[in-house]
Amino acid sequence: MRTLRWLVAVLAVTFASAALGQQVKLTFWSHWAAEKIKRDFVEEAIRRFEAAHPNVKIEATWYEKNALYAALKTALRAGTGPDIFYAEPDQVEYMENGLLLDLSPLDWSGIEPWAKQIWTYKGKPYGLPLEAWTIELYYNKKALADLGVTVPASLQLSAGSFTDLVKKARAKSMTPMSLGVGDRPFPGAFLVHEALVKKLGLEDYANLLAGKLSWSDPRVVDTLKLVRSWTEAGLLPTTFTTLKLGESHTYFYANPGAATFLMGSFYSSRAFNPPDKGGEPAGFQVGIMKYPAVPQGACEECRTLAVGGSYVVNAGTKNPREAIEFLDAFVDPAMANRWLENVVVQTGLKADLSKIGGPHAAYLKELFAADANAKYFFGLPNQRMQGKPKEVFTQVFNNAFPAGTISVEDAVKQMNAAYAR
C-alpha cells in the first residue's frame, strides 16, 4: 500500500515537472527571405530567445512578400495559420475579422507612440512595429559631381534645379532616376505623393487620399503637371514597368547606374549586402537628399513615414503567452540600437540614439540629417486607402502615370470616379 502511494506520488511529480517544462513550439512566418540583413537580425533574436527560454522552439519559415500574403490568406481562412507572422499596418482585414491577438500586454513604453498609433484598431494595438521607413532621394555623389550639380546645405533642390539635373543627366545618357514597379505596388507612386504632400500639407493631403478633396483641385493638377514634366524629360528608366524592386537597386549603383534613386530608407537592407549578393560595389558613395521642393508648396518639410515590417500574433494561437513574450523580447533599446546599426533602417522601437555606433554610423548620420525637422504624414497612400480607390491609385499613379501612358486629365478623372459611389 505504501509502495503504491509512493509510486503514485512519483508519477504525479514526473507528470507535473514534464508539464511545467513542456516543449512549446511556435510557428513563425515572415517576409524578408531575400533580405539577408533583416533576416539575420530576426534569426539572431530567435536564437537569443530560445537560449533564454529552453522550453520554447520557434520554427521559422521565410517567404517573399507576395507569396507570404497569399499563403496567409488561405491558411487563416482555413483556420490553420502560424502563431506569429509578418504583417504591415495596411492589412486592416486581419483586425476587422478578429484574426489577431490583442498585444496590449507588450511593454509599450519602449515603442514610439506614433508607431503604436498606426497599429491601433478600436483602441487596441495589434502589431509590433519593427520596421519604419521614410522615402529618401538617394544620389550617386560622384555622378552628381560629374554633372556639375551641387546639393545645397538644406539638402533640398528646388524644382527648377531638379529639372536641370534631369536634363544634364540625359545629355550624358545617364538615367536621372532609378525606379521600378515590376513587383511592388508602391515605388512609382513615391514620385507623385511625396510631391503632393509637400504641396498640400498634411491635412489636405489626408483629405485627398480619403476622397474628401477632389483630385481636380488646381494644386493637385499643377503638381501632377510638374511630375509629368520630369518624366517627359526622361527621368525614369525605359524598363520602369518591369524593373523589380531589387533590380532597381542594382540599376542605381551597379549596372547601368543612375544619378538618383527615390527609395524607402530600407534601401540599406539591399545596398549593404556584399556586391555579389546585390549590394553596392566597393567605393560607391551614396548621398541622401530631400525630395525637391515643390513651387508654392504648403509644407516643404512634410514627408511620408511608413511603418513597414511588423509582427503580429494569430488570435487562434495555442501559446499566446510565449508568443507575446517573444515579441516583448524585441522591445529593448539594445535591440533597437542593434537594428539601427545593422539593418540601418528606422524602427518603431525606441532606441538610445546617444549610443549609436556600428559600421554604418556615417550613413545613419546622413539619414537623420535628411529627416531633420520633418513633419510626418503617417502611412503610404496604399496603406491608407482601401478597395477601389486603392486599386485605381495603384494602377494610375504607381504604374501608368510615371510611365507616361496616361494623361494628367485622364488620371484625375479616373481617381475622382474611383471615389464616386
Binding site: A34, T61, E64, A67, A78, H249, T250
Partner: protein, 275 residues
C-alpha cells in the same frame, strides 16, 4: 498533295517552315544557351554562344536548391494522378459513350461543364476540404486534386473517341457472351489507344506544369517543380543564369516524354487510317 508542293514552290514552303521553326524553337534554344552561362556572362551579352560550358550549374540547381526534392515530388504526383485519371476517366467515358440510359447526357454535361469553372475560387473550398481530411500538404492530396481538375477534359477527349467506334464490334462481343467489363477491357480500350495516348500526354504536360494548386496546397517539403523555379527569383539580382538552368531541368523531361510517346501516337494514327 504532291501537286500542292509543286504549285507553292519547294523553296517557298521550306522558307516558311524554317521561319516558323526559328520562331517556335528559338526561345527554347536561347534558354538552353543561357542555362550554360553564368549570370554575369549573360549580362554582358545576352545572345552570345556559351564560351565555357558550365555544366556544373545543373548540379548546383539540382542539389543546392532542393531541386531533387521538387523533381521527385512532381514525378510522384504526376505519375499517380495521370494513371488514376486514365483508368477512371476511360471507365466513365466508355460508359457515357456506349450505354444509353436516362440521365446519360445530363451527367456527361455536368462533368464536362466543370472544365469551364475558374480554378481560383474552388481553391479555397478545396483547401478546407483537404485540411478536414488530413490531406493538406500531402502528395496524395495534391494528386487527388489534380485528378479532379483534369477529369472533365479527360472524359471529354475519350468520350468523343469512344463514341466513334463502330457498334458492330460491341454487338459481336455481346453475342459472344462477353460480360460488360471484358467488353470495356478487350474491345474499347485497345481501339482507343490513340485517344488514351493523347489524354496521357496532355494530362502529363498540364499537370507537370501546374502551378496554382501546387502553390496553395503545398509547403516547402512537398513543393513541385514549377514552384522550384521561384527559388531563383529573389528580388535582388534576377539570377538569369540559374533561372535558365532551372527552366531546362523542368523542360527537358517533358520533351523527352513527348518525343517517345509521339512516335507511338502517330503510328497508331497512321495504322488506323488504313481500315
Amino acid at each position: 498533295m504532291k501537286r500542292a508542293i509543286g504549285l507553292l514552290g519547294r523553296g517557298g514552303l521550306f522558307a516558311v517552315v524554317a521561319l516558323y521553326t526559328a520562331f517556335a524553337a528559338g526561345p527554347f534554344l536561347w534558354v538552353a544557351t543561357m542555362s550554360l552561362r553564368t549570370t554575369s556572362e549573360i549580362s554582358i551579352d545576352h545572345y552570345a554562344w556559351p564560351a565555357k560550358w558550365h555544366w556544373e550549374k545543373f548540379g548546383q540547381a539540382w542539389f543546392n536548391s532542393n531541386y531533387n526534392v521538387y523533381f521527385g515530388n512532381s514525378l510522384i504526383v504526376v505519375v499517380s494522378a495521370v494513371a488514376l485519371l486514365t483508368v477512371i476517366g476511360s471507365m466513365a467515358a466508355h460508359c457515357f459513350a456506349r450505354y444509353r440510359f436516362r440521365g446519360n447526357r445530363a451527367l456527361y454535361f455536368i462533368v464536362f461543364s466543370a472544365i469551364i469553372f475558374p480554378p481560383q475560387i474552388t481553391i479555397i473550398a478545396l483547401f478546407q476540404i483537404l485540411v478536414q481530411y488530413g490531406l493538406y500538404n500531402t502528395l496524395a492530396g495534391l494528386a487527388l486534386v489534380y485528378v479532379a481538375v483534369q477529369l472533365p477534359l479527360t472524359v471529354y477527349i475519350l468520350e468523343t473517341f469512344f463514341a466513334r467506334i463502330p457498334g458492330d464490334l460491341f454487338d459481336a462481343a455481346r453475342i459472344d457472351g462477353y460480360p460488360e467489363w471484358q467488353i470495356f477491357w478487350k474491345v474499347s480500350l485497345p481501339i482507343a489507344l490513340p485517344a488514351i495516348a493523347t489524354a496521357v500526354i496532355l494530362n502529363t504536360i498540364l499537370l507537370w506544369n501546374e502551378f496554382l494548386y501546387a502553390v496553395v496546397i503545398t509547403d516547402e517539403s512537398k513543393r513541385t517543380l514549377p514552384l522550384g523555379i521561384q527559388r531563383f527569383m529573389g528580388d535582388q539580382l534576377e539570377d538569369v543564369g540559374m533561372i535558365a538552368t532551372g527552366l531546362m531541368i523542368a523542360i527537358v523531361p517533358v520533351v523527352l516524354i513527348y518525343a517517345f510517346f509521339s512516335e507511338k501516337l502517330i503510328q497508331g494514327m497512321t495504322a488506323g487510317a488504313v481500315k
